[in-house]
């Protein structure tokens, strides 16, 4: 990587950031649609949880590549680490409380019956 002209490196970093941000926002969109479309609480938790950590991770790492080795990158790392640890625990507690509260996971709905939104 050393012998590249500086402006080429800057352009590559921009391309990497662009790709990461687009992928991250795409995943976040998939998460939003998943939360809306899934039949019951547990599958919604599944849909929300998956894309939260990866979608948020991609967006934050995309911002990190943009901000270089500065103070902003440290804060972004803190946010990323915090989201990685707390989202799964919150989802776990939510699923357990829902189960204890008596919310029944819906069995596989019949083929062709569109799940009511």
């Amino acid at each position: 990587m050393g012998n590249r002209a500086p402006h080429q490196v800057a352009k590559m970093v921009d391309v990497i950031t662009w790709v990461m941000l687009v992928l991250g926002s795409g995943l976040v969109l998939v998460g939003g649609i998943g939360i809306l479309r899934m039949p019951d609480v547990y599958t919604r938790l599944h849909a929300g949880g998956i894309t939260d950590t990866l979608g948020a991770g991609l967006i934050l790492v995309g911002l990190m590549t943009q901000s270089g080795w500065g103070g902003a990158t440290i804060k972004l790392c803190l946010i990323l680490a915090f989201l990685f640890f707390t989202n799964p625990t919150a989802s776990h507690l939510l699923a357990r409380t829902a189960l204890k509260f008596g919310v029944k996971p819906q069995p596989e709905s019949k083929k062709g019956s569109s799940s009511k939104v």
Partner: protein, 97 residues
């Protein structure tokens, strides 16, 4: 680049808000609140980069912290209420959780 990400985040928050309104059970609403707050954290960070103000990242970090505490408090409140409700009214000895 940032406006695209911010727009996608806003659309997602709209979708999740629809789930919060439609959500039949209480836990859908708690889940939707948690999801919206996580998206808001990302939105604050992206807008911080959009308007070139690095101090937005502290706000985003604080927002992520508060969101986590809010979700836990809501769930703990539901669990406390549930043990009273299922004990037809009179409070039960506090659960040893």
């Amino acid at each position: 680049m940032y406006t695209l990400t911010a727009a996608a985040l806003l659309v997602t928050m709209g979708l999740v808000l629809a789930r919060a309104i439609l959500g039949p059970t209480l836990f859908d609403r708690i889940l939707a609140t948690n999801a919206i707050a996580t998206k808001m954290t990302l939105l604050i960070a992206v807008i911080g980069f959009l308007t070139d103000r690095p101090d937005f990242l502290d706000i985003a970090l604080l927002y992520a912290l508060i969101n986590y505490i809010a979700t836990l408090a809501a769930l703990r409140y539901v669990r406390a209420g549930q043990s009273v409700a299922s004990n037809n009214g009179e409070p039960r000895t506090p659960p040893s959780c």
